[in-house]
Symmetry: none
DNA sequence: GTGGTCTAGACCACG
DNA sequence: GTGGTCTAGACCACA
């Protein structure tokens, strides 16, 4: 697992780290029992505050994605490899939609706004899962 | 123009106001030269502090969406009514994609993560507009 | 006397009007006793609030540049045509300096900042006139 | 970086702060990556409200001069040290012109008006940079 | 510790 | 009546 961050993206660093772990888990790149790099190592590589990595790992632990074992490290807990094909399919759908939207000449910000507003609609209609299922 | 806010959404109020103005402009509901409700009126209607509205209007001014005229009011500057049909088409595309994704049983958060990661890819490949065109 | 204004320059409209009258007086285009266009006429031509013109004329009256005569109009009071050649010389000096600065590739904002900071220095050293002399 | 303000200059405090940061950047006194004093420290030193400093910093962020990093501070973004000698030359030109003008017996206000009108001419003729280059 | 958001309300400047 | 600036101070989020 190698992390990449964007210091000036507006997105909190710990969120960026969390997303990457989740993404890797969803794709099956990280599986149950796999060990994540140590907090110290991640912080050194990215030249960020160790507390930031601690926070990312803590939040992931709360979400049940990984488990922090004192003195031995952080390990993936979720048995989620089976979702990989489903995620792949979803990616294809999203990719196709974005391609069509980009062809319309929309900017990224507009696209994001439309996405969020349509999503809000679906949410309001209760047609969306809230927990994994 | 009537504003609606959600005090407990985690999203800053001034951002919510900004989004609504932008959205209205994109849809053509607000056109160049249209006057927005005064800062005080908005603040009173929503029962929020006028400074919060000031901030939303000022940021929109920075983005070139509106112009604040001292002593006379806030006016839309962007000539963007013609984008309405384009936006409508984009909404249809997004809606359809979200429907298919929701049917797969994905959660909102997963969907958002996939959307952002595919978007990042398109951005990296330079296939996306940065400014309105 | 024909006025021109820039609604979105950030500079108050009444200041813009004042500047134009003063400039015309300095150049000798307006002389003692000359009548200025009526407030109503100016307001109609520029499509601005008559109060704005009133304010410009009032401030100029305070500065002794013109005199408002009830029922008959606004008239230049200042006997300042003799400064015309001096102003012309000053314009030449400024023009030459600006040309050299523009050639250096400086932006307008940078130039203005440098101008103000050097001016502040001269002012601090007391080498500048405060009243006309 | 040490700030100085003039409470009774008519110029908004946040503008005064902005100018000083820009000036320091142009002169090379502040370089890319340099950290500015914290909002609270500036507010305490000048005995002004922290929000006023926030506004100055935020506007500078809009202009791309600095970057506010949540939780860690404000940092200069602009790579502009090489302009220092150019600015020094410009200052000399301006200083010389102002000296000659002051010798003519012009007041500060007249000088400023002439400066602005000649500048407007150069601008209209397109002989001036708009962006840094 | 940092910056980010928001409130409550004063006083000024512009049209 | 408009927007513009500033204060005093609370509470939250991030590193």
């Amino acid at each position: 697992m190698i992390f990449r961050i964007n210091q000036s993206a507006g997105v909190p660093l710990y969120i960026q780290l969390m997303e990457q772990v989740k993404h890797a888990v969803e794709l099956g790149a990280l599986r149950e029992g796999d060990q994540l790099p140590t907090i110290r190592k991640v912080a050194e590589e990215l030249v960020i505050n160790p507390n930031t990595v601690v926070r990312a790992y803590r939040e992931l632990e709360h979400e049940g994605v990984l488990e922090l074992k004192h003195g031995s490290g952080a390990f993936i807990t979720e048995p989620s490899g089976k979702r990989a094909p489903l995620i792949a399919k979803a990616q294809a759908i999203v990719q196709s939609a974005i391609d069509r939207l980009a062809a319309l000449g929309l900017t990224e910000e507009e696209l994001r706004r439309i996405f969020e507003s349509q999503l809000a609609q679906v949410r309001a209609e209760g047609r969306m899962e809230k927990q994994k299922g």
